[in-house]
Each structure stands twice: as C-alpha cells, then as structure tokens.
C-alpha cells in the first residue's frame, strides 16, 4: 500500500510546472491573436486565386529550407520506439482514436525509417499499467516490428504509463550498442501523467551521460518533464495539433540526426556482403529454421539467411548488400537549396525537368503588371537551370539529384 502511495506522489502536476516555465518560452495559446483572413488580399481582378497560390508556394517552400551543409550524420542508428498504452490513449480527440492513429503511423514510421536508414536498427517498448514491456529487441528487420504491432494482444491499453521504467529498459539495451552507432529513443506519449518508481531526474542524467537522445511526440499537451528531458538530451519535443501534424512530427525523426565530431567515434566496421543462392533442394535457414530454397550465404560462417540487411545469427557479422549502403548516400551528399528567381531575370519559358510552362510576366487585362510575388521559378546555383515549385520539392525530398546538374555539362552556356 505504501508503495502505491509513493507512486501517486510522483505524478507530475502539469499545472504547477507550466507556471514556472511559461514566462520564458511562451505557449501557443498565449501568442498574439492572428486573424488569418487579414493576410488575404484581392488582386485587381477581384480574385483571390493569386494570393492563394502565393500562400501555397510559401507553404511548400517552408518545408524545403533544410540544412544542406555536409555535416557528419549518424548513419548507423539504434532507436527504441516507446509507445504509451495507457488509458489516455483511448481518447478520441484524434480520429479514429489516439491509439489507432498511433499504431498506423507507427507502422508507416517503421517502414520509412528502414527505407531511409537501411543499416540501422529499431526496437519497440510499450508501457501500460505502470510497467514497461519490450515487444521487440533492436532488429534490422521492419517486418518483425510491424508484426508485433499488428498483434492485438500487444496493444491493449491499461492504467498509467511509466516513463521511467520504459526509459530504463531502453537504456539498458542501448548502452551495449557499439560506439559508432547513434543511440536514440522516440516516445509517443498520450498521457499527461507518469507512474514512476524513483526519481526520473536521475534517469535523465544517466541518459545524458550515455549519450542517448530522447525525442517525444506528445498527443495531449505540453508536459514539463518531457520538455526538460528532450532539451537535456538534445532531442526534439513536439505536441500534435492535428492528425497531419502528428505525422509530420513523427517523420521529423526519420532523417539521420547530425552528430558532433566529439560525441561519436568514427569506426571501421566489418561488414559482410553475402552472395545470394538458389538451391534446387530446400535447406534450413539459420534465422527462422525453416526450409527455404532462396537465401544468402554469410560470407564468414556460411550459414544461410533469408533476408538482408541483418546480423548473422551465428557469427553476428553485419550482413548488407551494396544497394543498402547506397541508399544512405543522399544523406551524406545532400544537394543545395534552390533559390527563387526574381521576375527581372525570369526569361525561361518552362521548367527544365518536367517541361511545365512557367507563368510569364506579361501584363494583365488592365495593363498593370502582374501582382504575383514569385515568378514560380527556382534556380539551382550550380547549373543555373530553372525549376518549378513541384520539381523543387520533389527533387529535394524524393530524388536527391539535381536533374540540371546531371543532364547538362557545366561548359554549356
């Protein structure tokens, strides 16, 4: 009984905490009231179309200003996804419910994470009823993680979450991760309270000491302890506004984080590049002990495994194929941001890569100059070609190649 009482005292009272920190940072609801319709202005034809287009352009561009300097990034990542399964997750303020949305986004997150970080690992911890439970250990296989989330038994909700227990559980695994890999924790937190057995500040201190970065996506409201923890461990803290924003916050974690040169050790990692085999007779694989005909042979110990990338279950050699390494190259060699072209040098007629005609600077019916702020052209500073906004976004977010630089030689013009 007495233990129960102690736990109750450890609940974090958010109202208290807010008062102490609000002055320095400012919360969304304290910001000056903005009337969004004041921004809209009719053009001389009395239409809003242009203004709306401009706003859309700006929205698209905003996403784009990303860091393109070639900093060192932690390409080989180890991350624990901690999912809150407390009763607070049954709230229906996010559609269809916090829990269902979290599970479907978590699945997308896992797929995208492994797509962008092919030689990284991920494990899942859930917390409910005051305890933490490890669903998967760190693994390089997205399907293993998704399978446990699909199992309904693993995603029942109950009681209060325990931040400290789940952090300690993640920490105990992450401290064994080799020094060249990053150590990260991502928490999806629906509850405003946590049920902890001890002092969580001790846990945070040890996380800082072990170089573990903690990021939190809050589903309800800002919680001081989470904010403090993320700040201390150099993670990202965000509280969702709506369904789309939830996904944006989650996906912010996907690009490999920059690491300081001092913090991470550069290492030479031994990796195996196994050859694929197709046997006429099925033989047992070392990973699942199932008879298979197709597979890969570990370059060091000759055991047969089903899928890449993975660690060899027998000799623990990291096994990858060369395309897996190539998938990470675009993080290491990012392309520069395109710059907006002012009207006075907008002579091109169409987008270089998709052939979309550009708006031209001709005058409108009334004889006044067109009022659009942007010329709709964006220039690569290396090859001086002009691109439309859609290609600009597509090139930086998906292809990671500048079509202009690749399709022309510099000596042209």
């Amino acid at each position: 009984m007495s233990k129960q009482h102690k736990q109750a005292e450890e609940y974090i009272d958010i109202d208290d905490e807010i008062q102490t920190t609000a002055q320095q940072t400012g919360y969304a609801w304290e910001e000056e009231y903005k009337r969004s319709w004041d921004v809209l202005q009719e053009d001389e034809d009395g239409s809003l179309k242009r203004t709306v287009e401009n706003l859309q352009h700006r929205m698209k561009r905003k996403k784009l200003f990303r860091d393109t300097s070639t900093i060192r990034r932690g390409i080989i990542r180890h991350i624990f996804l901690i999912i809150d399964l407390s009763e607070a997750m049954m709230e229906k303020d996010l559609r269809p419910s916090r829990l269902e949305l979290t599970l479907s986004y978590a699945e997308q997150f896992i797929l995208e994470y492994f797509d962008q970080n092919p030689i990284s690992q991920l494990g899942i911890i859930v917390t409910r009823g005051g305890i933490a439970e490890k669903l998967t250990d760190l693994t390089g296989n997205p399907m293993d993680n998704i399978r446990v989330l699909k199992n309904k038994k693993n995603t029942d909700t109950d009681g209060e979450p325990s931040l400290q227990n789940s952090l300690e559980m993640a920490r105990s695994t992450l401290i064994h991760v080799p020094a060249h890999g990053s150590r990260e924790i991502l928490i999806i937190m629906g509850s405003l309270t946590t049920c902890d057995p001890g002092d969580i500040y001790d846990t945070i201190d040890s996380l800082v000491k072990e170089n573990i970065r903690v990021s939190v996506v809050g589903l309800a409201a800002e919680v001081q302890i989470c904010k403090h923890m993320c700040k201390k461990t150099k993670g990202i803290y965000g509280v969702v506004l709506n369904e789309v924003h939830f996904k944006d916050l989650l996906f912010e974690i996907i690009p490999p984080p920059p690491v300081s040169v001092a913090q991470s050790k550069a290492e030479l990692v031994i990796m195996g590049f196994p050859s694929s085999v197709t046997d006429s007779m099925p033989s047992l694989c070392a990973c699942h002990s199932k008879p298979t005909t197709n597979g890969y042979i570990c370059a060091r110990c000759n055991s047969k495994i089903c899928d890449l990338p993975t660690d060899c279950p027998v000799c623990e050699l990291t096994l990858v194929s060369s395309p897996h390494l190539a998938r990470s190259y675009h993080h290491l060699f990012p392309i520069d941001n395109f710059v907006e072209v002012p009207w006075n040098s907008a002579f091109t007629t169409h987008c270089f890569s998709c052939q979309m005609p550009f708006p031209n600077a001709t005058t409108s019916l009334l004889g006044t100059r067109v009022v659009t702020e942007t010329s709709g052209r964006y220039k690569c500073n290396k090859c001086n070609q002009h691109f439309c906004i859609d290609c600009d976004v597509f090139v930086h977010e998906v292809i990671h190649n500048c079509p202009g630089c690749l399709a022309t030689t510099l000596s042209i013009k």
Binding site: R72, I75, D115, P178, H180, K265, A266, E267, L268, V269, M271, G272, F273, P274, S275, S276, V277, T278, D279, I297, A299, R300, N302, V314, C315, E316, L317, S321, S322, P323, L325, A326, R327, S328, Y329, L332, H350, C351, S353, C354, Q355, M356, C388, D390, C391, F394, V395, V398, I399, H400, N401, P403, C405, L406, A407, T408, T409, L410, S411, I412
Partner: protein, 320 residues
C-alpha cells in the same frame, strides 16, 4: 510527398504512361552499326513503331521520349513549345496515318536531328564513353511526378524504359542509385533493354529493385520483335505473364581502394566507404578511424567452425 498515390495496384482499364529514355551516344551507336548492323537510324525506326503500338493499345495511353546524349539529356517529346510548324517537312495531312502518330514521329525525329546537329562540347564530359543516363532518369521521374500530380484519381500508371548502349559510368553511381530508390518508392518499374555491349550492372540493379524487366538484345535484327513482346505489355498484363528463368543480379560490393570484388569489407561508419583492408584514416572523408571491437565469441565460434570444416574436408560445400 503528400501525394503519394497508390501506384502498386493496377487495373485493366488504367492508362499507361511510358517514358522512353534513348541512349544516343553517337560513338557507341557507330560501333554497334559496324559490328551488328543495328544503327541508331534503324533502331529509331523500330522504336517509333513501338511507340505507335503503345499509343494504339489504349486511347488514353501517353508517351514521353528523352534522349540521353553524351553531354546533355533532353526531352524529345513532348516539348512545351512545338516549333517548326511551317518547315521543310510536308504539312500535307497523310490520310493514311493517324494524326497522333504523325505528331509524335515528327517531333521525335525533328528533335533528334537538332540534338545531333548541335554537337558543341564532345570533349568536356569526364567520361566520354558514357551518356547522361542519371540526368535523363531524374528528368523522367520529375515528368512522371508532374503527370501524376495532375491525375487526381490515380488512373495513369507510369513506367520507364531505357534503351541502353553505353557502359556504366562510375561517376554516376550515386545519382543513378538515388533515382532507382525514388522509382522504387513511387512504384515505377524501370525496364532496361541493353542493345549493345556488356551488361550494365547499374541498370540491371535498377530493373531488379524496381520490379522492371531487363533484356540483353541477342539478335539485333529482331529489335522490334523483342520490344513488342518484352516491353509492350502494360503493368496489368504483366501479372499474367511468365518470364523465362530469372537472371541472377550481382549485388556484390567492390572496395573503393582497388575496385576489387570483396565479400567481407571494412566500412567507414561516417561515409560508408568500403575498403578491403583496415586503415587508420578513411581515404574518402579523412576521419581517423578505429577498428570496431570485433565480437570475440562470434569470431572464436567461426574459427572453430572453419577448423571443423577443414577437418571434415569440407564435404558440405556450402554455396552452389
């Protein structure tokens, strides 16, 4: 990213967008004409028939043609400003020819001519034997992105076909791989027809990773026949076709220092360069490296197994 449509499921009545990338490296086409008799002119005749066949399959099928030249890649069709309306070519309407075929044929031929007349910088490219395939692929993906954005219901199913003759250029490795992964993400298959020369490892991987088809043309005289049978079927029809035994794709890595094929390598954890021997400093990114602590028990176990294997005379053989 927000408009990733469902490109994986295909229906019978979907329209198809074919983006054809033609490698027009003049040096290699000349070589091809000498050794096999298939010149670019001849190949283009076959390709135009193939394009017309594609357009004839469905009334809403679309096509785009991009040339991957030695120093530039360029759209041949469609181009935003259709020029040369009143030029030498006969403007008489050929009553025996479907107007749409004529437009495509004329533009492709006309723009191809322009491309070859405008040889300004043959010697600027670092690797003359190759062509700008990475640029052409990037443009193709941008074009597909534009068409798919405009198509709100996801009715158009895109695919890319590369007619390749040039050998791989190591300068383009990263950019080609980037294109391959984006195509895979967007669900766009990349087909490759290798007309002349050795297999290209990069493009073979492209076809394999994106679920496209790879064909090395054995009989150049039958170019059209191979195009029609292998590459004309749309993505829906392909579900019902069986290809002859799948070829093995080479995913093995080669070290950055000697370009030697290796099966166990040392990888720099910062820039992912692969080396065949341990070094103190990475030669690509100049960071000082320490050898990661090798998992001792794993190594011991393996050495044990190897000894055992030797003792047994290795009758098990292992791989094929």
């Amino acid at each position: 990213m927000s408009v990733l449509k469902d490109t994986a499921t295909v229906n019978e009545d979907d329209a198809n967008l074919l983006v054809l990338i033609i490698d027009t490296n003049p040096l290699i086409w000349t070589r091809s004409a000498k050794s096999t008799g298939l010149s670019l002119k001849e190949a283009l005749r076959h390709l135009l028939v193939f394009i017309n066949a594609h357009l004839a399959l469905k009334h809403d099928n679309e096509v785009a043609v991009i040339a991957s030249h030695v120093d530039v890649s360029k759209f041949l069709f469609p181009i935003p400003t259709p020029p040369r309306l009143s030029e030498d070519t006969d403007q008489v309407v050929d009553s025996n020819l479907y107007q749409r075929f004529k437009v495509v044929n004329d533009q492709v031929i006309g723009n191809m001519k322009d491309l070859f007349e405008d040889i300004t910088t043959l010697n600027s490219y670092p690797d003359k034997a190759s062509s700008m395939i990475a640029g052409a692929l990037s443009m193709a993906l941008c074009y597909i992105n534009r068409i798919m954005r405009a198509d709100e219901i996801g009715h158009i199913k895109p695919r890319i076909l590369i007619i390749s003759i040039s050998p791989d250029s190591p300068y383009q490795y990263i950019s080609i791989m980037n294109c391959i992964f984006s195509a895979q993400k967007l669900g766009i298959p990349i087909d490759v027809c290798k007309v002349h020369g050795e297999d290209t490892v990069f493009l073979k991987q492209a076809a394999h990773i994106t679920g496209g088809r790879y064909l090395k043309l054995q009989i150049p005289q039958g170019f059209l026949q191979f195009l029609m049978i292998t590459f004309l079927p749309d993505r829906f029809t392909r579900n019902y076709q069986c290809l002859p035994g799948e070829e093995k794709v080479d995913f093995s890595a080669s070290c950055f220092c000697h370009k030697k094929m290796i099966d166990i390598g040392y990888v720099c954890s910062v820039c992912l360069s692969i080396f065949c021997h341990p070094l103190e400093q990475c030669s690509t990114c100049r960071t000082n490296l320490i050898l990661a602590s090798v998992n001792e028990c794993g190594l011991k176990l393996v050495n044990g197994i190897k000894k055992l294997d030797k003792a047994k005379g290795r009758e098990s053989g292992g791989s094929t």
